[in-house]
Symmetry: D2
Subunit: 376 residues, 4 copies
């Protein structure tokens, strides 16, 4: 496109996200849908529920039903091959929470930049910059995850760190059973205590989210600007709270020697996976491992220095119901964005290659885990 | 989305890169060029020379003239408003260097994935995955840098780390005066020694490259998927050797509290710049600061385990002329990619906004530097 | 885009259309909207009303309210600069009309091709191929027309021919005052009689729709594939019933000599307008004149030969409430599509040109009309 | 949308055209190429030769070798799957021909609009608006035609009319054997005489070019804006001399009744082909038949009224070596553009559909021809 819209993501599999936090609705149009596939709205709702506020006492107590509706593209439970429009109408906005701060620019938020860029902003909340926009991503990502599952690809995430406290092992069964979506039961108590301490002090903490894409065939992704690394980086860095992305050993690889960093190759594929599942931007068949730096929630009760719309110095304390750590709710969003990238890469590959892709090699998951653990 | 074809980058300002390392030529078509602008081919050549191999004894001794030619879009020294095609013909290939390893997949390279994805690969070298493809980026980025300079925006980079040894200060005058493009004279000797030690042992080291974009107006970048953060991440992660990207405090912010991480706002803009120059993905007027994790060069003389094209176990030692550390030559590439993103954001903004963007606030560069230093 | 969706139209100003005739809703997301502009929903509704069925006894008696709702992108009556989602919920479907023919492929409709392409189709009606999809175009086009009006550009259409009977003059006041949207009161009675005769015989007739875009500056449109001619042709030929498009003298120019066909140039612009307002695909400042061949409505009561889904020979007679001539309802759709193209060209130009475009010359409308008349 | 940059065409299969008539070269980058396919440069050269000037005494006597070179994307005679850059260097420009008219705007040419849009133009000729730009299209189209041929699809064209004199039959063997590329030996003498008469009087004539795409499967093309009709219309109207496009009966259908215009359906497909091979914008398996209105060559020796760059009235007579009728050289360009559309539709379909498309029905070519003849 001469320009592509900032509300659009993807190539062969594309989504268009629309809606504001305090407007009538948030929605997404999913495009590039194959016809005749079963459409499981409940599975989409389930992913939205994972992202929803109010899931535990460690996240915001706001409760929003976030019921998703289908406007198009589905007939008698099957996709028609045409755009699927999904909408979530906004309900529980309690915009009075925001009244006191309508004229102040919240530090860490987009208030300042939206006002300057657009000449206006919705004083009731983040508007288009709100985290509610990620509803669109999770809904579309849920569809992508379903399609990938049918192809043998699983996408799942967890928090590798909370408040600087790392997980030393990955217990997948534990991840969805704890409110922080961390993976190591041994680290959970300390992580929880850190979040609670921050909340008690009107403050917030950050985390590092990690997503694994397993079961990919060899050959997804493209050269040059279409590297899987680049697509995943764009996908993840487009999430509001994310300020860094790395694949595999990531920044750690910058501090190593080549003889240590290179993954030797065996008949079944790479013998370790510091590259994070790609070589030259194309999938090797090893798990693609992405890590996202999630900043501490910008909305905090502590007093901060700021300015008002007229540029006058002021103090601000954000009193609404906010998450002391947003990382647990970022996990389903990160999974969704990664799923969008990989399903898109699959369709793209389908267009440009006659034969089928090489099968993924058998992979020794325990060894991978050991390697990943060693990397921390 | 920023890309469509994997060889294309940008929206309003677009480039198409083509060519392989051992084919006839590498080139780029620059699209979205305003008419009537002076076209300075020497300035483009100068940037290519910064990227060229053979600049010092710390990089590969291969010498390639890499002379750029104009095929279209320029008339009597001015742009016509039509696509500018630039071509560099390949000269010094010494493809015999590669003969011994034509049947082996080099660890850390795209040999394996290209063979599996495409069913064929150029055994003389990296082909499309070669670092020579970055010629296209640097040539186009040189044009973008010229346009940005005319708008008051400067783009410059350096290596923040080499082999894990950090620069504690940024001395811009030193950057282009040393072969590693590091910024701290006090750290240079140790960094150089680390590179030389690796080379002596047939090994390689990595680094962390940092790019500063200064003088941006408030308001560049877009919401949702068009965040400047996302575009820069895609741009930088599309460079072959890069495995991680962060803005501002990046991964460091994940280990902080919100009260520490948020940048308080003053009448002139953010009072510190841990956000790295964006809020909600849109420029604040503060410098945009991007860091890239550059892995150690994959081609090393040390023996590594690998497989051949038939999947049989083998050993490989890459004997060609290679850089013991690629980070110095990544600096101009990273600058180019960042320049492409920001100039594109500028043109995009020009289409969608009637008025001019808010002026960038005056910025206290010394304070910024102190803050950035403190962050390490 | 690697692929762009068939449901998307435009570059800097883009729309995404979704929805089926018998699904929950038809809608459009308008993207590339400048912020802070007054948003006039009534004006959009007014254009939808022009397209609505049931406006006279010469079109289908189906009555649909087609009330448009805003889901996003508007705050306190002004655009926010973010995507505007508009939705029309479907009401009066009377799908029982279609029951008898659910298993038959209607000649002239997309039933056959949808079934073969997608493996399924909505048997209750056209689904995505239905004329109801044009609701999305007219709603978005209404916005584009408002923006163009503010820039001094008007977009208006009429039917140049009905059932082969031409209009010899253009009386704009008459166009919206008659149910066929023809422009020549002297031809109306014969045109009306032709439509009524066809209806009485269970048959239908076609027409030629003509759109004028007046007040364009010199310089909109682009070389090569971006010619205004090409964009307008794509826009108009994407309307279901349209099988031909021409600019200016169009097919007539193919039968002339160059000395007759070329428009001489005077200080104020072209001295006649057989080129239809473009030279080299770029606007000359003269009115852009587009003509569309509208085929006779495919749904007719007369018996036609066809096949059923199993390929068996059958007869079909479409008994639903259909327009004996669809051309009157095509006029607002054609205007909308032309408006989308030109407003998009305007925004595109704004991105790529610093200065303002050359002003349109004063134009002698009577002479133009005389020339156009002579052309028939 | 089919385009983004005005120099780019296509979605999954994309081309980027660059170059000016009097610059160093004209070229094209072909993107979306499958790997491992045999690359037949001679077949591309052959198509360029069909388009070349100087083929007979009925076209311009300018002789240009127009030798095409490969810069990338091919290795040992096979495609690598990466962009193929093709270049033709400009040779015989004789720009002195143009010196006398450098300050005058040629009627029918883009001189006026380029000067106003860009603020500058190449006074030596058409620059980017020159017919030489079609070299890029023909080269890329030649590749698309080869791929389509392997899929059983043939693309071939002829002139249905010259100077208003129609061909009443289609004798394919005659088409490439006569300099006007007309299809009816019985009409040739009159057509030739018309061209020669125009040339003798320093004038020019137009024509109607017709392209047949045969062997398409059912199901290519998409709903809404992606209709095959729309894509073909854009493709053909982007050719400089083309001012109208129609499919099948085209404008003729606007003057018929539905009972006559609808194509009845039989078990093998449509029983006639007035729709021109599509229903709802999607291929029916019947031949796709496109007609293009080609205006008379704008460059004529006869004196015309015009203005100079300062807006002063002047007279102009274009004395260069020009074609008295450009339609014969438009045929290969039109074939190329249609081939690009259909091959792109094929790849797009491959991405979004699992199964293979329905096979094209057996088709009675003689009956088709009879129908087409009856339509004139």
């Amino acid at each position: 496109m001469l320009f592509d819209s900032p509300s659009t993501f993807g190539r062969a599999f594309r989504i268009l996200s629309f809606g504001e936090s305090h407007g009538p609705a948030v929605g997404v149009v999913i495009d590039g849908v194959k016809p005749g596939l079963p459409f499981d709205l409940a599975a989409i709702q389930q992913e939205l529920d994972r992202r929803r506020p109010g899931q535990s006492d460690l996240v915001t107590p706001r409760r929003e039903a976030d019921r998703v509706q289908v406007l198009s593209g589905v007939f008698e439970g099957r996709t028609t091959g045409h755009p699927i429009a999904l909408v979530v109408f906004n309900e529980n906005q309690r915009s009075t929470d925001y009244q006191a701060i309508a004229d102040l620019f919240r530090p860490g938020h987009a208030d300042l930049t939206y006002q300057r860029k657009y000449g206006l902003r919705d004083p009731r909340g983040g508007g288009r910059s709100s985290g509610r926009e990620t509803l669109a991503r999770v809904a579309a990502g849920a569809w992508a995850k379903q399609q990938l599952a049918a192809l043998g690809v699983t996408v799942r995430g967890f928090n590798r760190e909370i408040a600087g406290i790392p997980c030393s092992k990955v217990d997948w069964a534990f991840v969805e059973a704890n409110p922080l979506r961390v993976a190591d039961p041994a680290a959970f108590d300390a992580q929880r205590a850190a979040v609670e301490a921050a909340r008690a002090e009107g403050d917030s903490v950050g985390g590092v989210c990690e997503v694994w894409l397993e079961g990919l065939p060899v050959g997804l992704g493209d050269p040059a600007f279409g590297k899987l690394d680049a697509l995943l980086a764009a996908a993840c860095m487009s999430i509001g709270a994310v300020k860094g992305v790395e694949l595999g050993a990531g920044f750690g690889s910058a501090r190593r020697r080549g003889s240590e960093n290179n993954d030797p190759l065996g008949p079944g594929g790479p013998l370790k996976n510091d590259a994070g599942g790609t070589l030259g931007g194309i999938s090797t068949g090893a798990p693609v491992v992405v890590r996202l730096a999630v900043k501490p929630t910008s909305s905090i009760a502590r007093v901060q220095q700021t300015i008002d719309r007229d540029g006058r110095t002021a103090e601000i304390s954000t009193r609404g119901r906010h998450d002391p750590c947003i990382a647990p709710r970022i996990v389903p969003v990160a999974e969704a964005m990664c799923a969008l990238v990989v399903y898109d890469a699959w369709l793209t590959q389908q267009a440009l290659r006659e034969g089928s892709l090489a099968e993924a090699p058998e992979w020794d998951w325990e060894a991978v885990e050991a390697l990943l653990r060693a990397k921390l």
